[in-house]
Amino acid sequence: MESMLPEAFADLEPFASKWSLATEGERYAERMATTMPEIQAFYDAVVPRAEEAIAYCDKYPLDDMPDDALHLLHLLYSMVQVSFPVECWGQPKIPDTGAAALDLISEPGP
């Protein structure tokens, strides 16, 4: 199978197809649909590589990123997304938020 991420981040490849998502809506939905052990495993794998990954993405202009760097960037957005369940809530969902919804209707690229 072809890899989604740059070679230097092969260790994160197992998480790429699940978490390398282009929109906030998809990332938020994925977080809600994932168990805490799985979220934790992703968080534990990606956080130690975050600084390197950011530096890697930083080599390219935002409006002209190669696909693999873009996938890595989207993976980092998912890292931000799952940090709240891991660092604050102990569960995917924000406690006491019932059916409340706040959808991101338009968001900047890339």
């Binding site: 600084e51 957005y77 931000v80 660092e87 604050c88 706040l102 991101l104």
Partner: protein, 428 residues
């Protein structure tokens, strides 16, 4: 004892002459009051519907549903580059003129003219009717008399406002007044990276405004957003703002800031250090190359957190010390529900690192906003029980007190001008 100085009267509430008695929330649970508010407030005040960057070129347009006023408005940049607004209704047989797929959904795009989906009447971008299908079969139809119905529209600092009154009582600038217009010169035009959030809320619009115009709740409701080393002392200390200002129907709260990068590791979320960002925005703020306008950070707090301008009736501009801003809109859909919009604006990210910092600020915003939103439904339902009808407000809730007072004033004012109507909306 408060830590920060208060005005000579002893409190902000007394300073602004708002009275200290408990308040009623009847204005948030009464369908009759809501009906009056629609007429008295939403059909008479200037309403912000967006930013000029949403209309980048000639023919750019968007629609705005103003449910509370029973209308939909088209906002468009015409051939001359002028911004105009029209009621979104075809003059032939009343079809909604501009919509896509679902008639009740808002839409946007670029066009040369507006074409009605029903029988094909066409309107220029300046609203003039320019084509009628089978025109010769109509009876004495003077096309010049059948242009789109205009809505008063004006701009301030790139913000587009409309006014649904036949003749607005005040110009936009007079309506905004000196406290708000003292923001002129803030580089809103540099902050074009836009994040637009929207969600329905099962509570009266004023209840959500209240939730974002007091920070008394923040150390309690949002405690778990920070580690205990931060949240416990924060909750013990409570929240105080250094500055409140009220002018006409508008109000401002200004807060002191923090320097998260100076905090201990146990006092902030680990992801804040990874992304160098958080709820208050990116730690590294962009250069703006302009002086901050005199109306900002009025208490000269250092570090400064934010200024939240609560612009009557339903619009908020919140400017962060970290050089970004956001807006809130609260569009009533019924006496006990509204559509909330939160829009974040940054100087466009130039690097992946900056873009990730924006992601962190935006995700944090949503985590807080969802907590606030759901609390409101819990408030609405129990207010409606009317088991309790009077509620004590403390000094940090001074702006909530003011909002409800202004709503009552506008409604009373309207009723006074409508003989035969009492302030419960009942014909007498």
């Amino acid at each position: 004892m408060s830590r920060l100085p208060k005005p000579p009267e002893g409190s902000w509430t007394q300073h602004y002459g708002l009275g200290t008695a408990p308040v009623s929330y009847e204005d948030s649970i009464s369908p009759e009051f809501h009906a009056l508010e629609a007429e008295a407030v939403f059909k008479r005040a200037w309403l912000n519907v967006g930013r000029i960057e949403q209309l980048p070129r000639k023919g750019s347009y968007f629609t705005k549903e103003i449910t509370v006023a029973n209308t939909s408005v088209i906002v468009v940049r015409d051939q001359q580059g002028e911004i105009r607004a029209f009621h979104n209704v075809c003059r032939h047989r009343g079809n909604k003129l501009v919509w896509n797929d679902f008639p009740r959904d808002e839409t946007s795009g670029v066009c040369r003219q507006f074409v009605c989906k029903y029988h094909g009447w066409r309107y220029d971008l300046d609203g003039a009717l320019n084509f009628v299908q089978q025109e010769e079969e109509f009876f004495d139809l003077d096309k010049a008399q059948f242009g789109l119905v205009p809505v008063h529209c004006d701009l301030w600092e790139g913000f587009i406002f409309v006014n649904l009154a036949k003749e607005p009582a005040q110009s936009l600038k007079a309506f905004l007044g000196p406290m708000v217009t003292a923001l002129e010169g803030y580089p809103f035009d540099q902050m074009t990276e836009r994040w637009f959030y929207r969600g329905p809320v099962g509570a009266n619009w004023k209840l959500y405004m209240d939730a974002f115009q007091e920070f008394y709740h923040a150390p309690v409701l949002h405690a778990r957003q920070s580690p205990p080393d931060w949240s416990v002392p924060a909750q013990n200390a409570g929240f105080e703002a250094p500055y409140y200002k009220i002018e006409g129907p508008h109000r401002v709260v200004s807060t002191a800031g923090i320097r998260p990068w100076e905090l201990g590791e146990n006092q902030r979320k680990p992801m804040e250090a990874v992304t160098r960002s958080g709820l208050f925005g990116p730690w590294d703020k962009p250069e703006l190359g302009v002086e901050m306008p005199p109306g900002l950070n009025p208490s000269r707090a250092n570090p400064w957190g934010l200024d939240s301008f609560q612009i009557w009736p339903n619009f908020v501009i919140l400017i962060w010390g970290q050089h970004w801003y956001l807006t809130y809109h609260y569009w009533p859909t019924a006496y006990n529900s509204h559509m909330f919009e939160g829009t974040l604006y940054f100087v466009p990210a130039k690097t992946a690192r900056e873009r990730i910092a924006h992601e962190m600020a935006a995700v944090s915003f949503k985590e807080f906003g969802l907590q606030d939103a759901n609390t409101l439904e819990a408030t609405q339902t129990m207010l409606e029980s009317r088991v309790v009808t009077e509620f004590p407000l403390m000094d940090q809730e001074v702006l909530c007190r003011h909002l409800h007072k202004v709503a009552a004033e506008w409604v009373n004012d309207y009723v006074a001008g409508q003989p035969g109507l009492n302030n419960e909306g009942v014909r007498v």
